[in-house]
Symmetry: C2
Subunit: 686 residues, 2 copies
């Protein structure tokens, strides 16, 4: 009890810090007392009680009844809000119900009787954290789970406090799983020593209903098991994994399972032994099955030989449909290439009808300005989840194809690649917190609009009442008109702005090598495989630009169900946002607005730059409503974003102009960066 | 003859190069023959003849008569254009007349009977070139006169070709003097070895009527003469200089004289020996007098002790008025501080009534964007030369106070600090050539308008007829409307644009330390004398900004003749362009347009940035009329200028905002650079 109290005080002290962003969307504090009535006791129920007492904004001295009672209308860890409390099938459902109740109080939404069931069973954050504490594609400091050097595996009180804060934040938005290490996995992670630390993490996370998962290296049996092979059909390999799984569950009884990147980007996998993805995944699934664990097997595969990388995941996995165990889920990135600012949805969604499929979204902004650009990804994910695959007739959205609405999936899941690190504000950019929040909210309810999510997040994250209190059911017209609305508008426009200044009209993957921050449409070092170079994707030449994926080209369109195949193929019906994704078009091709393709490209880049400049104005104007610390940080980052948007515009227009040989329309601002300088410096990150 | 022919062919080959800018404003080539009739023969007359034959655009087979004949209406090396030729007092006058005739043909101005007399007797380029080949404040490559290393004093054929081209360009605009080395002079320059090279240079320049001068180090008698002192009143020092002068004239009979920076910025001078500037200057003047040489003695003096540097030249020199020999000319920078983008004229002009005074202008753009920014300085010099000092009643302009119109000066002169180096195009920026050109033209005729000079220069430098010929009396409406007019407008606006984005409303000297390219209003390293730091000049505090030079402050206004003293002192009459030069004003001081001072400062910076962006558009639009080489170079430099203008705006607004504590008006674009980054990098030059 003493330890608990001590921990609690320590956490409190963190809460009382200045507005450094560490408290995320959980800033609300109550001054009105509440009576919490619950007959059950557990760590999770205790947390629910404490959250109510800390955050209650309802009537003073009101009573809230928490009832754990099976109800068939409530699914899994869903819950029912009643007029006087929360009912759920289990303790975690109670906690989620309490968070929903408090969120409604803090955002001014009515609290009414309703059942809330999660869209997905597993709502997982993937951490690309390495055992040495670095994070692949991490832009907010080093790993919160791992650290470098001596004592790297010793668990400290500070570790526990941080993990608890992390767990609370996740739980408050419904995230119930965490993969603790990078998909490019170190075999070390399965060693006894590392598993000891996993156990310690799991013990903290468990109270908040979060299961731990691990990424594994497929060749672990040979690398750390002393076996001569890692062939998934080899009996000794099968046994090795069985034993390893047993060992894990003996330490972590609620362990979630494995995430596997295999036979992908140089990672070992079943194909090294002439086996299929199904052979590999099923072997592991069999080992996990007795304990209720799952395998999340990534479909992110491509080879240097295929002329169209966008086709490969479909080509490799479709033939295996029906061959996977029911506790295998194929994890598919939202688009067919790689977390670009805009891609059409991956054609695997809805196509694999006899296999569980889960979406993988990227919260960390690898290709969207990292922790420098303000980009709200809710809009992008909403676009993907609501895309109609037509695989089971109209209305077969990506969301419904993966959440069990259409296909009988034993397990449903969704994953988001985390943007979390040791930075005080967790995500580097204060607005990057909104992407963590949005992922959780969409994972819980994939029908939410990004507008609603942004609205909630802004209220929870920025509202401060005139008396200095945060959280309120009552937002003044002044605050709503001068802060909430303009900031929400900015967030909702931000992803389209990024598409405009980075790669409009279906352009994709024209980043500088390695860092993926700035532009590099020219980037093609000698000897590098061509599918790692931008010219492979934009295919600019003196005639035109774009990737022909129609039947005259790679025919990737054929992977889409009708009417999409026809729609994308036909220039009259292909959405302009995907134009150069599916078509190679001449520079003077006329768009619907009458502009030539070249001019339209110029206008998009210029518009993107202007949008960011407008964001800067929006932010400067809201200064009176934001604490100085977060105001200054966002202001500074917007300046960098504005500068970088200009770099994007200049780089892409000047580079493509070498092919188009046409002037940038004179109504538009001229580039201020020199192409040769940009090329010379393209490997430098800010 | 063989050597001459060879040299001529070499020069010709230079002429035939692509448009790399090496030919400056001398691109015109004739295809129509002309008969040149002249009874006299000399190197200079030969050049005149050759120029006519190369550049004649008049009637084919016309006869041009060159007549050397004394005429009292013609002054010095002036000339008379007649309907069939040129008449002058001497050969150089003939050459100048031929250049005038050809310029009129090439720019389409009528050739009419007229007398052209120069405004100043000595029209001198000051080269701040060091014996090791480096150039102080040079931005166009190394010295054309000096080079580093072994054989640095050997005169090669290439040297001679270059010096001849240089002399021709100078002569074509009326420049008749060149100081071959830096005012921060090395004593080496007076050694026999170096004088040998000076002699070789003088021999080339002489044919084009250009006299050579040298900057001398005041302490040369002790440094290289073996004397114990350099006291100007010491007989052995007097003798040393007499002997040195004699030695020089024995080698260079038409040597022009000395330029002296003494007791200034750490340079030795008469004050080291308790003597006055007059003592020092007169001693040298006496040595030079027998040979017709002059002393140009700089008034650029200030000490760290005075609270207002702007007052010091006046304070030190006015008491000496009347004490200088008649072959001493006091060389005064246009403004009282130091070649800033805008200063009021130096109060010494017109004030020293019994002393010859000459203006020193700076062609090299030390404080105006160096060879990166397009800034036409004609406008700035016109502003200065036409400033009314009122010293001899209304109309006592700086021009008239220095050219002998008002005061009886034995010698008149004007100097420009050269922007010339070894760069193929001489000046780094193609448009920087216009400043060399403008200096020469104004030195010849200080009543010319910058508009006319720009018009001439553009025609001479950029016109190409449809048949590929350059130079024409007949410019198409297309070329005039689409090239000449917009480019001229850009040039004429460019200096004001620079003032806007660098230091509007009378701000001055807020440059980064040392390099003087970017902004550094914050620059004030500990221990540095305060008059070398920007805060000394802008005096920003939470109340306001500006240097109080009225009677409540340093009272520098009192150095100006009435009505200027009153006009500058009174806020109602002080021109807004000098507002913060003369006044410290509160941030919310209301300007005539109703804006507060802070807002107006913001608007000026923003306007400057927008002006440069507009220049970029202007230039991009004229692409069809310019060769690719110069087009691309100017385009690239304009991009850098645009970026740097943004840096200036951001740096100054963000820095001053720390004092004003007011928002940048929301109509204006926000800064994109971060103040801390700018401060961190302020010592870096591009």
């Amino acid at each position: 009890m003493k330890v608990l109290l001590c921990t609690f005080l320590l956490i409190q002290s963190v809460f009382l810090q200045a507005e450094d962003g560490h408290n995320l969307w959980l800033r609300a504090k109550s001054s009105s007392p509440v009576n919490v009535i619950c007959s059950k006791k557990s760590a999770t129920i205790d947390i629910a009680r404490q959250e109510l007492q800390q955050g209650w904004l309802g009537k003073a001295e009101a009573s809230v009844v928490l009832t754990v009672k099976p109800d068939k209308t409530i699914k899994g860890d869903g819950f029912k809000l009643t007029l006087n409390g929360v009912q759920a099938n289990n303790d975690l459902g109670i906690l989620y119900g309490v968070y929903e109740l408090l969120r409604r109080q803090h955002t001014g939404e009515p609290v009414k009787e309703m059942i809330c069931n999660p869209s997905y069973e597993a709502r997982v954050l993937d951490h690309w954290d390495n055992p040495d504490g670095s994070i692949e594609r991490g832009y907010a400091g080093r790993s919160i789970f791992w650290r470098k050097g001596e004592n790297s595996l010793v668990v400290t009180d500070n570790d526990k406090i941080l993990w608890k804060e992390y767990a609370r934040a996740n739980s408050s938005v419904g995230i119930n799983g965490a993969v603790l290490n990078n998909v490019n996995a170190s075999p070390l992670m399965l060693s006894k020593e590392y598993l000891g630390r996993v156990k310690a993490i799991a013990e903290i996370l468990r109270q908040y209903g979060i299961k731990t998962y691990l990424s594994i290296k497929f060749s672990s049996p040979s690398l750390i098991g002393g076996l001569k092979t890692s062939d998934p059909l080899s009996p000794e390999v099968i046994k090795w994994w069985k034993d390893k799984v047993q060992e894990i569950y003996s330490m972590i009884p609620d362990f979630g399972g494995f995430l596997v990147k295999a036979s992908s980007e140089g990672q070992p996998g079943p194909q090294d032994y002439g086996r299929t993805h199904a052979d590999g995944a099923n072997m592991m699934a069999d080992a996990l099955k007795p304990f209720g664990g799952i395998v999340m097997w990534r479909a992110f595969v491509y080879s240097p030989d295929d002329p169209d990388r966008a086709k490969q995941a479909y080509a490799e996995f479709m033939p295996l449909d029906g061959q996977f165990r029911d506790n295998v889920i194929i994890q598919v990135k939202n688009g067919p290439v790689d977390f670009q600012p805009r891609e059409p949805f991956s054609p695997l969604f809805g196509a694999m009808k006899k296999t569980s499929v889960m979406p993988e979204l990227q919260i960390t902004q690898e290709y969207l300005g990292q922790s420098i650009h303000l980009v709200f990804l809710g809009a992008m994910w909403e676009e993907c989840l609501k895309s109609d695959t037509y695989q089971d007739g109209p209305g077969s959205t990506v969301a419904r194809c993966t959440d069990g609405s259409i296909y009988a999936q034993k397990h449903t899941a969704i994953a988001g690649v985390s943007n979390i690190g040791l930075d005080t504000n967790w995500c580097g950019h204060p607005f990057a917190q909104a992407n963590w929040y949005a992922f959780g909210r969409l994972a819980w309810d994939n029908k939410l609009t990004s507008e609603q999510i942004a609205d909630e997040w802004i209220k929870l994250t920025f509202y401060e009442s005139p008396s200095g209190n945060t959280g309120s059911a009552d937002f003044s017209a002044d605050w709503t008109g001068n802060f909430l609305n303009p900031v929400k508008k900015m967030m909702l426009e931000s992803r389209e702005a990024t598409v405009n200044y980075m790669m409009p009209l279906g352009l994709h993957h024209i980043f500088a090598g390695d860092h993926h921050y700035g532009p590099g449409p020219w980037y093609a070092p000698k000897g590098l495989r061509s599918d790692w170079t931008p010219p492979y994707y934009h295919k600019a030449d003196t005639i035109g630009i774009g990737f022909d994926r129609t039947s005259t080209g790679s025919n990737a369109v054929s992977q889409y169900h009708e009417p999409l195949n026809s729609q994308f193929s036909d220039l009259k019906t292909c959405p302009e946002i995907y134009l150069l994704w599916f078509h190679h078009l001449p520079w003077d091709y006329k768009l619907q607005n009458g502009r030539t393709l070249w001019d339209e490209i110029c206008y998009h880049y210029d518009t993107g730059v202007k949008q960011v400049r407008e964001f800067q104005k929006v932010w400067d104007k809201v200064q009176p409503y934001v604490d100085q610390e977060r105001f200054a940080l966002v202001q500074r980052k917007l300046r960098s974003q504005s500068k970088n948007a200009q770099v994007w515009k200049d780089a892409c227009l000047l580079y493509f102009q070498k092919f188009s040989r046409k002037p940038i329309p004179y109504e538009l601002e001229r580039p201020v960066n020199d192409l040769n300088d940009l090329i010379k410096n393209d490997m430098r990150r800010p």
